[in-house]
Amino acid sequence: MSAPSLGKDLVGLEHLSAGQLRLILDTAEPFKEVSERAIKKVPALRGKTIVNLFFEASTRTRISFEFAEKRLSADTVNVAVSGSSVSKGETLVDTARNLEAMRIDMVVIRHHASGSAEFLGNRIRSNVINAGDGKHEHPTQGLLDMLTLRDRFGRLEGLNVAICGDVLHSRVARSNIWGLTRLGAEVGVCGPASLLPRNIQDLGVTILPRIEDAIQWADALNVLRLQLERMTAGFIPSLREYNRVFGVTRDRLAKAPKDLTILHPGPMNRGVEIDSDVADGEHSVILPQVTNGVAVRMAVLYLLAGGAPDWHAGASE
């Protein structure tokens, strides 16, 4: 029995079919159990060499990928940009080609430029997995959010998911929108007008102007991190003002018609976009998201290791 193919690279969820998305989520299920074993290791990627190439700071995503790789028995190398030849002016493609000359099999890349993962994937033979490219996509985060929602509700079809906060700077938001809508969920976005991209409704999402609207409408809230480091211009008056108008607080959630499931991709700014008693509350699935992240990344690594030569083969259902 063979599964449909995923292609060579995972650069985003925008161009994946519903069948391919379901394949990844279904494959992640058995991988959850591997992390519960006493010996958390299976030999599926034995002999594969994977480079984690991180041009941006990351703790959770990099560690999650590294656990996923190691639990599949791959050999891993982490390249952080500070102290590497990149800081001496080497281009992205030169860095990757030099790594490839050492006979690697896969590259996991995080880069500040949107489109960098696809750019790289088109230029090297190794599988490329996007671990976040600029403001474009963060596909494995989108997938782990979808897996966590599916665990919680048993389905994605017909679910109302509100993505709240800094949608403009968020690659997580884009991957969520494409992935969730492809699998039949309704997606709403909620945030200050200055933090919503223009023409966002063209992606098939509902605009919820106030956080109270999102709470009335949604089954689940995916609360985005206010990306303080990307805030070079004045998008919001102040953090306190943001929390007062858009913060997800227990008082606001108390007015919801039903208990809302709370997601957050981390790292959290407690007291800004989300209050601590919500983040740590009984409807928060923030830590299950982290657990699912390892399973989803194992699934993606396992599926891509097949390395089908045809880019988007198996996209048909």
């Binding site: 494959t27 058995p30 599926a44 089908a308």
Partner: protein
């Protein structure tokens, strides 16, 4: 044109399973510390049935589990679409237990090789036995079954189709000559 020869019907399978259950108890001198582990997919149902049969014979509850060996396959390095991964669920600690691996058809032995590797990652059983409904010959590894429902000699182009009620709606084994 492939020809289909029935090898076992529902009654033959039931009789074979009864005998196999007795043999397991006989070889193990009882059912103390016995764990049955079925290999995905159709070994799982056979293991559950054998566990029930042994349980009623011995007035005991015999634990059974399921093992998916996909991630331990020796052909994963080959380029191509990935095989579907199934669920693994073992009933508790295997240390010191007598584990009976149950599968529908034994052929090259590669599945059992993978199952042995995977089981040893879960613990250190005192003893591991292999129990199969059909042994069709054609081994590529030095592996043999301890308990066999039926032995049939086949060629590399033949196929043995084992069906179980729980998944396929009927119990039967057919030899398909290629």
């Amino acid at each position: 044109m492939p020809s289909r020869t029935p090898l076992m019907d529902q009654r033959a399978i039931a009789r074979a399973l009864n005998r196999m259950a007795s043999e397991i108890v006989e070889i193990c001198h009882g059912s103390e510390g016995l764990v049955l582990v079925g290999i995905q997919r159709r070994g799982v149902q056979l293991a559950e049935r054998l566990a029930r049969l042994i349980g009623s014979m011995e007035q005991a509850i015999i634990p059974s589990g399921k093992l998916d060996i996909t991630l331990y396959r020796d052909d994963l390095q080959a380029v191509g679409p990935r095989p579907v991964v199934g669920e693994t669920h073992l009933p508790g600690d295997l240390d010191g237990k007598t584990v009976v691996i149950v599968d529908d058809v034994l052929y090259t032995g590669r599945t059992i090789r993978a199952a042995l590797d995977e089981l040893t990652d879960f613990g250190r059983p005192r003893r591991i036995l292999l129990c199969v409904l059909i042994d069709r010959g054609g081994r590529e590894l030095p592996i043999q079954a301890d308990i066999v429902g039926m032995t049939v000699s086949t060629g590399p182009r033949d196929r043995v189709d084992a069906l179980v009620q729980e998944l396929d709606g009927q119990d039967s084994v057919e030899l398909v000559r290629g």
